[in-house]
């Protein structure tokens, strides 16, 4: 394995993080179940949840690794993944699947099978939130869900995201306790009809404060004990310092840079142990938060630049030590990543609107480059004020080919947040998390609810709501496509189908939101999120300052090209008629080579800066956005859209027959807002222009992948023009762009000989992953993405 990291300590930590075998850790399940069994029914649900967390943090196994400077693990050791039976309960079969499979496996200890079977399953199988959710979904919902029209985010993980804000560094949990007490004292039981619920919630927050302080105190004692046993003087001093840090934070606010990072890490452990929210928890604008500690410590002479970087690299190892919680059932079988999507934003602007690039920003870039780890996912925010040096430095790392950092447009993020009703002060502190999702960090619960398969709904439209794949009527009857006299009639039928499926999705979402609000509160996360304490409300019940729900549109490239193919060939040019096309689709184009050639090669397509296709893209985007945006959620906020697929475009394509743009049955649909693979033949500027015709600013994020061959970005000129391409896309209000810089031949070789390419990392969606861990379908999809190369 390649040795990376700034010094021997980091190299060792990094190596052990990468070599540790992922395993299942039953401690959380054990202690949560213990609390639930003892107190369920006798205390309020929020308090019960907080008590369970406190029980876990009071008893869980501690871990301080050799050479570590930042301490704390979610499980009992690196790569140990706690389970969340309170949310979704693994069957014994699930445990066998995760233990036995070759890729993305989790080792299950022998005694854990019987423990799961005898202790966990009997208690949780009918209590887990997943079971409750599935009980409340209608037969229509289930039918449509199983046919792959949409996915549901909350059946296996808790609502997210929220990202850490400056709060983490400004207050200790003792101070939070006094804030909570004040709200408790001021509760008005006469006029406020929700006073009792608020009392329960606030008391739960108090318990959650104690939980994290207990965990830290235990770490302090443990470090002190290790220090006493340590013979090496240098390490002894470090352990004493760690103990001291853990006595200061999180009970109190951090006094220095080292403690600030440790403070974040304790908060991370609190949020991700309480529940398993999407997408973990993120430090957000880390450079903005750390700079005052950095400046202060440097000027006091208690920190050097190298020490500051070393502590960051220790934090990177911590992120990498936490695999994403393993799923259950089919989702477990299909999931192909350890990545938990924690995301760090670097650069951007300050709360006052000035350029935010500072000394820590450059340290983070160096750390990202030196560590080359999948977790945390790292990105840069580029504003008009960002120095070219910073942008080019980020490009230099990006062109190495493994997908980090991704690039985000600060002005777009701010505008998106303003459009969604945030204040300018909150907008400037915001950023992106997960893959590309825009949020007001520390102030917003922005909940992704599931992917929406737009091309599949168009497929159903062509067959009057009938699904040729699952052989059943799924949608309403909107007319036979053969009878449509115009493109307008086809469009009307399509929008009626969208209405139907969107209503089904939103009905499900509202029920699920209510279940979380009442039965799965997250008091710890609520402490960290403004304004849950003041409102006495949980994060999952509308306590946050802003409450948004998202439905992620997938396949804009495919649907655009399908509509263009029909408009152009059937209605405008009359090259063939609708019933010939439908026969061709059902036959997967076999025997219909002429039609296949026309729709594949001789039709205007999205991604070429051609208004014929791009106007269609705009009409689909606008229709979808307008149908979703503004609908009410149960937390007092609204639904909005974003345009990202993670890896869902592969699954969504798999449930589809051939489509009118020449995409064959079961092949992936287009990803993010990128054009359909191979459809963009006019180079990256045309792609960027086409994509920028979408109104990014009315979304909560869009994802654009570009694949370059190494020669395109080689040399000073290649680097400069890569930076200019990004700048121009952002001038045109693009939200995000990321790069895979790798040639097709290398990917094909890596697919054939995975053992020789163990370290090969590629950009997938808003995250990077090991190529060899991806499913064959996803590997093929990445290989087939249009490669921009020039003679």
């Amino acid at each position: 394995m390649e040795e990376r990291g700034m010094n021997t300590r980091i190299q060792k930590l990094r190596k052990s993080s990468l070599e540790a075998v992922a395993s299942i850790d039953m401690e959380r399940a054990k202690y949560f179940t213990e609390t639930y069994k003892k107190y369920e029914g006798s205390v309020s649900i929020p308090e019960l949840r907080a008590m369970a967390l406190k029980n876990y943090f009071s008893k869980k196994t501690l871990y301080i690794g050799e050479g570590e400077l930042i301490v704390g693990e979610k499980g009992c050791k690196p790569q140990a993944a706690p389970t969340f039976p309170d949310l979704c309960c693994h069957t014994v079969d699930d445990l066998h699947v995760m233990n036995d499979r070759e890729l993305i496996s989790f080792k299950v200890a022998d005694e854990d099978y019987s423990f799961q079977e005898n202790e966990i399953i009997p208690y949780w199988e009918n209590r887990s939130i997943r079971q409750i959710i599935l009980k409340h979904m209608t037969p229509e919902w289930k039918k449509v869900y199983e046919a792959g029209i949409f996915t549901e985010f909350m059946e296996q993980r808790g609502p997210g995201h929220t990202v850490g804000s400056e709060n983490i560094y400004n207050k200790g949990f003792l101070e939070y306790k006094s804030d909570i007490e004040k709200t408790l004292e001021n509760l008005d039981y006469i006029n406020d009809m929700e006073a009792l619920e608020k009392e329960h919630q606030l008391k739960a927050m108090m318990i959650a404060c104690d939980a994290i302080i207990i965990l830290a105190t235990r770490y302090a004692d443990y470090a002190q004990k290790l220090a006493a046993e340590e013979n090496d003087e240098k390490r002894k001093k470090e352990l004493i310092a760690i103990a001291e840090n853990c006595r200061v934070v999180p009970a109190n606010k951090p006094k220095n840079y080292w403690q600030a990072i440790q403070m974040y890490w304790f908060c991370h452990l609190g949020v991700t142990s309480e529940l398993n929210p999407w997408d973990a928890y993120s430090p957000g604008r880390l450079d903005q938060h750390l700079i005052r500690f950095y400046d202060n410590d440097i000027s006091e002479g208690i920190l050097t630049r190298d020490e500051a970087k070393e502590l960051l690299e220790c934090l990177w190892v911590k992120f990498n030590n936490q695999p994403a919680p393993p799923k259950v059932g089919i989702t477990l079988k299909e999931s192909s990543t350890y990545t938990d999507f924690a995301n760090i934003n670097t650069g951007g602007i300050t709360p006052e609107g000035k350029d935010g690039v500072n000394d820590v920003s450059y340290l983070i870039l160096e750390c990202m480059d030196e560590m080359k780890l999948l977790q945390p996912s790292s990105n840069v925010q580029i504003s008009k004020k960002t120095p070219q040096t910073f942008l080019k430095k980020a490009c230099e790392i990006s062109r190495k080919g493994w997908g980090q950092p991704a690039f985000y447009n600060t002005e777009a993020i701010v505008q998106e947040l303003l459009n969604a009703g945030k204040t300018i002060a909150d907008a400037r502190k915001g950023g992106t998390s997960g893959c590309v999702e825009t949020g007001a960090f520390g102030n917003e619960a922005y909940i992704l609810t599931g992917y929406f398969n737009i091309p599949k709904i168009f497929e159903l439209t062509l067959f009057d709501g009938y699904d040729n794949m699952s052989k059943q009527q799924l949608g309403p009857h909107t007319g036979k496509a053969e009878d449509f006299k115009s493109y307008g009639e086809l469009w009307d039928a399509f929008t009626k189908q969208i209405d139907y499926f969107l209503d089904l999705k939103i009905r499900g979402n509202l029920v699920i939101e209510k279940i979380y609000a009442t039965q799965m509160p997250v008091p710890f996360l609520s402490i960290l999120t403004n304004d849950c304490i003041g409102r006495g409300k949980d994060y999952n019940a509308g306590g946050a300052r802003y409450n948004t729900s998202y439905i992620q549109g997938v396949g804009i490239g495919t649907i655009t090209d399908c509509l263009a193919a029909i408009k152009y060939n059937v209605f405008d040019q009359k090259k063939f008629n609708m019933s010939e096309l439908l026969d061709a689709l059902k036959a997967n184009f076999e025997g219909y080579e002429k039609i296949y050639n026309l729709v594949s090669n001789k039709t205007p397509k999205y991604g070429n800066d051609d208004d014929y296709a791009d106007d269609i893209m705009k009409s689909v985007f606008t229709m979808y956005r307008d149908k979703v945006t503004g609908r009410k959620n149960i937390r007092g906020g609204e639904f909005r859209i974003n345009m990202l697929p993670t890896t869902c475009h592969v699954y969504f394509g798999d449930v589809m027959i051939a489509s009118a743009n020449g995409r064959l049955a079961h092949k992936p649909v287009s990803e993010g807002i990128s054009p359909e693979k191979g459809a963009d033949v006019n180079g990256p500027t045309a792609v960027v222009k086409s994509c920028s015709k979408m109104d990014h600013l009315s979304t909560g994020g869009t994802l654009l992948n570009q694949k370059f061959t190494p020669s395109v970005v080689a040399g000073e000129e290649g680097l400069a023009q890569m930076a200019n391409l990004i700048r121009t896309y952002f001038n045109l209000d693009g939200h995000h762009i990321q790069f895979n810089v790798i040639d097709r031949e290398t990917l094909i070789k890596a697919q054939q000989n995975p053992e020789e390419y163990k370290d090969l990392i590629v950009r997938v969606a808003g995250y990077s992953d090991h190529f060899r861990n991806l499913s064959k379908a996803l590997q093929d999809e990445i290989i087939e993405r249009t490669e921009q190369s020039f003679a």
Binding site: E593, K594, Y596, N597, S600, N601, D609, N682, G683, P684, T685, A686, V688, K689, V712, G715, E717, G718, A720, Q721, N724, L725, R727, T728, N731, L732, Q788, F790, A791
Partner: protein
């Protein structure tokens, strides 16, 4: 007539550019990597790897080929269409200091009033244009485009007149004379020397080129040594033409040596590659 509009072109001048390839050239360089731009007439590409040998086309261009094995090479385009197309990337030119490059083929061998009209339209829009030329046209054509052209990318292939005739089909006298005149007219010039192993990769040719530039007081802003590459060879096959595979790519060491030759003549801004 054009063959291609290449966007995100980053090796034909400064910044992000759009390069337009015009069809037809007075030279017939035997190493040409864009052989489809030599003839002024429409031609057809045949892609063997797509062809299933069904025979329906009878070996001629066949529009309805279901495998898309035939493609037309060369299309007529109006100046307005061309102007609209290149204008689409204006945002990129402005960020990067780029613009449009007219290339070919030989752009100055086209209908010159068409070219001047295009240049005028682009100038009004603030889009800067470079002209990539072999130099083998009447000087009046240079004079016509001079007011609208930012830089001329001027090819100097071979100083030896006989060899030039042998490999390109034409004499180099006109080319050299035009370069002198262009320089006298204070045009911005980038001299581009394709370095073709087996043709012009000799110290003698490089010394003579450098001496010519120096002795005629030509002050090129850049001099580019462009190593030969064989990426065009598949196009010969697609066009049904024979490809002379005897040319070789010069080594890095050789290219460095040539760079030093130019430097030793007091010339600066010598680049290897675009």
């Amino acid at each position: 007539m054009i063959t291609n509009i290449q966007k995100y072109s980053i090796h034909d001048g400064e910044g992000i550019r759009t390069t337009i390839f015009f069809k037809g050239c007075p030279l017939k360089c035997s190493w040409c990597h864009n052989p489809e731009t030599q003839s002024f007439e429409t031609e057809f590409f045949h892609y063997d790897q797509r062809c299933v040998g069904c025979g329906k086309c009878g070996g001629k261009y066949y529009e309805d080929c279901v495998n898309n094995a035939w493609e037309i090479c060369g299309r007529e385009i109006t100046a307005k269409e061309l102007c609209n197309e290149v204008q689409k990337d204006q945002a990129f030119y402005e960020t990067s200091g780029g613009g449009v490059t007219l290339s070919g083929g030989e752009v100055l061998a086209q209908d010159i009033s068409f070219i001047v009209g295009l240049l005028q339209n682009l100038k009004i829009r603030g889009i800067e244009v470079n002209i990539d030329t072999c130099g083998y046209v009447d000087f009046s054509r240079f004079e016509a485009v001079l007011p609208y052209t930012k830089s001329f990318l001027y090819d100097l292939k071979l100083m030896d007149a006989d060899k030039h005739k042998k490999y390109t089909g034409v004499d180099n006298n006109l080319i050299l004379e035009n370069l002198k005149k262009l320089s006298e007219n204070k045009a911005s010039i980038w001299v581009r020397i394709p370095v073709i192993g087996g043709v012009n990769d000799t110290n003698k040719n490089m010394v003579e080129t450098a001496e010519f530039i120096k002795s005629n007081d030509i002050n090129p802003e850049h001099i580019h040594l462009l190593p030969y590459h064989n990426t065009g060879c598949s196009k010969y096959q697609q066009l049904g033409k024979k490809y002379d595979g005897s040319f070789t790519t010069p080594s890095k060491e050789k290219l460095e040596e040539y760079r030093r030759i130019f430097e030793s003549h007091g010339l600066t801004n010598i680049y290897i590659g675009g």
